[in-house]
Symmetry: C2
Subunit: 265 residues, 2 copies
Amino acid sequence: MPMGQVIFVSAGPGAADLITLRGARALAKADVVLFDALTDPALREHAPKAQWIDVGKRGFCHSTAQAAINALLVRHAQSCAVVVRLKGGDASVFGRLEEEMQALTLAGIAFEVVPGVTAALAAAAQLQRPLTRRGLGRSVSLRTAMTREGQLVAAGPVSGDVLPHDDAADTEVYYMAGRQLPQMGAQLIAAGWPAQTPALVVSKAGCPDMASSDHTLATLDSASKLHQDRPALLIVGAGAMSIDGFPDRKALIDVHQHQVQGPSD
Amino acid sequence: MPMGQVIFVSAGPGAADLITLRGARALAKADVVLFDALTDPALREHAPKAQWIDVGKRGFCHSTAQAAINALLVRHAQSCAVVVRLKGGDASVFGRLEEEMQALTLAGIAFEVVPGVTAALAAAAQLQRPLTRRGLGRSVSLRTAMTREGQLVAAGPVSGDVLPHDDAADTEVYYMAGRQLPQMGAQLIAAGWPAQTPALVVSKAGCPDMASSDHTLATLDSASKLHQDRPALLIVGAGAMSIDGFPDRKALIDVHQHQVQGPSD
């Protein structure tokens, strides 16, 4: 029997209609679908006859779980025509894609990757907060709040610009920020962001029961209760700002001044 | 007659099947579609009866063109039931979304935003280069190579980490990098990236006639001819690395050492 093929399909976050047409078509021809626990069950309608296998991993024991997923993926590809590996958001961003690609390469199995909507983009769309803003947000960074060693990490405003008179106050998006919310405001202020920097917390981005709350870094610790036990991301800087009523951009201009002049202390 | 509604739909980059199901369904109910020149013509099949209006703007005269687009958008929304504003990639990332949202808000017109696949994610999928890598790439930054004043901007490796012993070498993606390619290698080296940092140039990401070329920052100037007159993005750092044959990660480890220890000069 010839080897099967693996298609990594990015499902988008939350709602099933955020998958791409290409992703939905890949599902329609799948014999087996390996999916993560957080994927919207409505996605199953695209592949009703396929065998659906939940390989969702939670918590911190990633390495064992990842090896088991790699082995399952190889095993099914060796016996099935088309295996879809369905991942939430976009597979290339915090999707642990490299490990699975390497396992398939070692086993001599062909694969392709279908891109998707990553959570930050779904949050920005749902809340109508563009991540880039003319004259205020020239870059968007996607980060995780914690390293694999479990350390909390916060980055300061971008300081490496060749041209220090550039006018950008950038946007940082922290994925998987739920557990870190109580500490992140203080950490980001310590890293150089002004206390009044806008900070937006979005939990279950892309889902019908999405929730969001507006803060500054100084008041961010109150977000923790509001989003308890829900997967959350944190948007800091220009992209966190509401466009409703054309709010005073003073906080952002302060961030800009800070970046240009450096911290006053 | 009641006011119409505007749906900002992110088309994804290049191929028409990279639009989301939600985006395709929005097109199907559109009376008018305002689209940019770069959008795949095959997207028209989703809205064959709608009036399609090309509002693509090229070159550097953005401000006039943007005001005209805003006015068109408002005018059509005042006379049509459903106006789709179709944007390439994801509308929230370098999509000039804020200006159009503000024009609609001023005119009292309701809108929603459908997210999509941004070019960096399509490039990563097509080339099978995950933008985050375990132990090597903890963050992804999306930037433009030029400010609106036409200045070339290059950012150095992230230096603001609270925990300087973190193990990340990050990924930077420069959008709209085509014209800047001859200078960017030297600029990024001047900004602090080691000369051997992997650099991947992708033109027409997401399209069937996508092209890509691998470089280091030291050899990046040769990319210019290869991608002449094609919209290009530049990926620098961990995400630029091929996984084929599990290449030696020395270049990336050098970047990491550099970030931890600081430049040696």
